[in-house]
């Protein structure tokens, strides 16, 4: 098996999901300079809602494709409602407050949503029903599953559509105008509150789809799943340059690749048996087991945050970002 190619495939799949989630962070940040820390929870609610619908319909004789579609079609409006609710109830009243207030509120909303989800969906791990056979294809010594192909292709389509909306439509132009100067945007007759609400709604719709993607990729959902996923997608947005749409896409894929390759090779790289000189204790263990690995692939999560720290230290504006924000 070709580990490198395999990890590239896995990385692209993860990266596609990160990119879709990162877009939600970056669009909201771009328009009101708020890091919506509750965005990861919206992803989780998307996964949970879809799971509920899919589990409910599984075995009912409805064709599997229709079931999955129904799951997505339920998750999207639910998440949009949650995203709109967050903006309306939690963030809009703080529009003119010091920047720290909405940020702390966002963290609070993340906790609130987690606990509401726990009450609705219990504190157990829920299995995503396997209603589809998941075909596996082999390319050049690596395997790619039908779910992976679907995630990658669908995310590319979504990104293309979003780019078209933001850069080609009247609404998208109004979003960019509002992001740049809301006061003047109002003079143009743009109802900025409405545009901001729509930005949240679009981001939440993307989060819903991402939630269904991760749910079906890992086959499992849990009320805390949005937290780390959200932080990683946020890291991806920062990596690409927060506020920048293309940056979020690039950052998402790069982060997915770094993470997958890191997870694929960290065991080898930290295998002390590869050291040219080994202390007796290590040599003894190597002789016995053949390996002595310092960090296993369970350290996978570390990479996203190493990337985040690295970006913040060396290129805080991100890969495609233009200016260094000195704001809180």
């Amino acid at each position: 098996m070709d580990i490198f190619l395999q990890q590239i495939i896995n990385g692209l799949t993860l990266g596609a999901v990160y990119a879709i989630v990162a877009l939600g962070y970056t669009m909201v940040y771009g328009i009101i300079q708020l890091i919506n820390f509750a965005h990861g929870e919206v992803v989780m609610i998307g996964a949970m809602t879809a799971l509920t619908v899919i589990a409910g319909l599984a075995g009912s004789g409805v064709p599997p494709l229709v079931i999955v579609l129904a799951g997505v079609l339920a998750a999207v409006p639910v998440c949009m409602a949650v995203g709109y609710g967050l903006e309306r109830v939690a963030y809009r009243p703080l529009r003119h407050a010091p920047r720290l207030s909405p940020l702390i509120t966002a963290i609070g909303m993340s906790i609130v949503l987690q606990h509401v989800a726990m009450m609705v969906w219990s504190r157990n791990f829920l299995a995503f029903p396997q209603i589809f056979p998941n075909p596996v294809f082999f390319v050049g010594g690596a395997a790619i599953t039908g779910v992976q192909i679907t995630i990658i292709v669908l995310s590319l389509l979504i990104m293309g559509a979003l780019t078209a909306v933001v850069f080609r439509t009247r609404l998208g132009t109004a979003m960019r105008a509002t992001a740049e100067n809301p006061e003047v945007a109002r003079l143009m007759g743009i109802d900025c509150d409405r545009v901001i609400a729509l930005t949240f709604i679009i981001g939440a719709g993307l989060a819903a789809v991402a939630g269904v993607m991760v749910g079906s990729y890992y086959g499992i959902a849990h009320y805390t799943m949005g937290f780390v996923l959200g932080l990683k997608a946020f890291s991806a947005a920062v990596l690409g340059g927060i506020g920048n749409i293309a940056g979020a896409m690039l950052g998402g894929f790069l982060l997915g690749l770094v993470e997958a390759l890191g997870a694929g090779y960290i065991g080898d790289l930290t295998n002390l048996c590869h050291l040219p000189w080994q202390p007796d204790l290590v040599a003894a263990r190597c002789a016995a087991d053949g390996h002595l690995v310092l960090f296993g692939s369970n350290y996978q999560d570390v990479f996203a945050f190493l990337v985040l720290i690295g970006v913040l230290m060396f290129r805080p504006e991100g890969l495609l970002g233009e200016r260094v924000g000195q704001r809180a």
Partner: protein
């Protein structure tokens, strides 16, 4: 009846009264200027009319009180402000900026026609329509800001210091544009520190000093007024 009738307009920033109860009016087809020194409250007055700052008093536009309207509702009623410092969207292209000027309009064929006439009036913008507005020179940005306001088909145009920060030759060009817009029948309220230019283009003027209007007359009379000459025209 006047197109714009302002009575007892007051604006405060925190505890500081920037506009202290002023009255003025603008009749349809007129060019009226509001001149005064730095910090007199000219921009604040225009911002109050455009609902960008909370204000008290009465502002009647076309006979309706507009002080309760949200700012984004004004352009649809034909009131457009070209803000101080131009306020173009630097990351949007020139064409996108112009299209944002027509944001509230739905009459697509008419918008295309207006875009054509804006390009005729401001040919530089046609050449640069695909360029981001941030790459334009200051004078070109001012032209864009005016063109963008015209795309909303305003009936009353509020201009805040269109000459600010521009080289004299560019100031001349901008004022030629303003003159030709007014000759097409536009009603204009012009705020300027450059009193000579403003009074040359306007039919009437108001002089503002620390939040109050201290003097008003026909522009030609103000140009000859010793107090105006002393304070705003370099005392010649």
């Amino acid at each position: 009846m006047s197109m714009l009738q302002v009575q007892g307009l007051k604006v405060a920033y925190g505890g500081i009264q920037a506009v202290k109860g002023i009255d003025f009016e603008v009749a349809a087809g007129e060019v009226v200027c509001l001149i005064g020194a730095n910090g007199a409250g000219k921009s604040t007055t225009l911002k109050a009319l455009a609902r960008m700052v909370p204000a008290q008093g009465s502002v009647r536009y076309d006979g309706h009180d507009i002080l309760h309207l949200p700012p984004h509702a004004l352009v649809g009623r034909g009131l457009a402000l070209v803000p101080e410092g131009r306020g173009v969207f630097g990351r949007l292209t020139v064409a996108e900026n112009l299209r944002m000027g027509a944001y509230t309009r739905r009459d697509t064929p008419e918008i295309a026609r207006d875009l054509e006439s804006v390009f005729e009036l401001l040919p530089r913008l046609r050449e640069r329509q695909r360029q981001t507005a941030g790459t334009l020179s200051g004078g070109e940005q001012q032209m864009l800001a005016i063109g963008r306001a015209l795309m909303g088909r305003p009936r009353l145009l509020l201009l805040d210091e269109p000459s600010m920060g521009l080289a004299p030759i560019m100031v001349q060009k901008v004022f030629e544009v303003i003159r030709s817009v007014s000759q097409q029948g536009m009603t204009i309220l012009l705020v300027e520190q450059n009193a000579r230019l403003a009074l040359a283009i306007a039919s009437r003027g108001y002089v503002m000093e620390s939040g109050t209007i201290t003097l008003t007359d026909a522009a030609a009379t103000l140009l000859d007024d010793p107090r105006v000459r002393e304070a705003y025209l370099g005392g010649e």
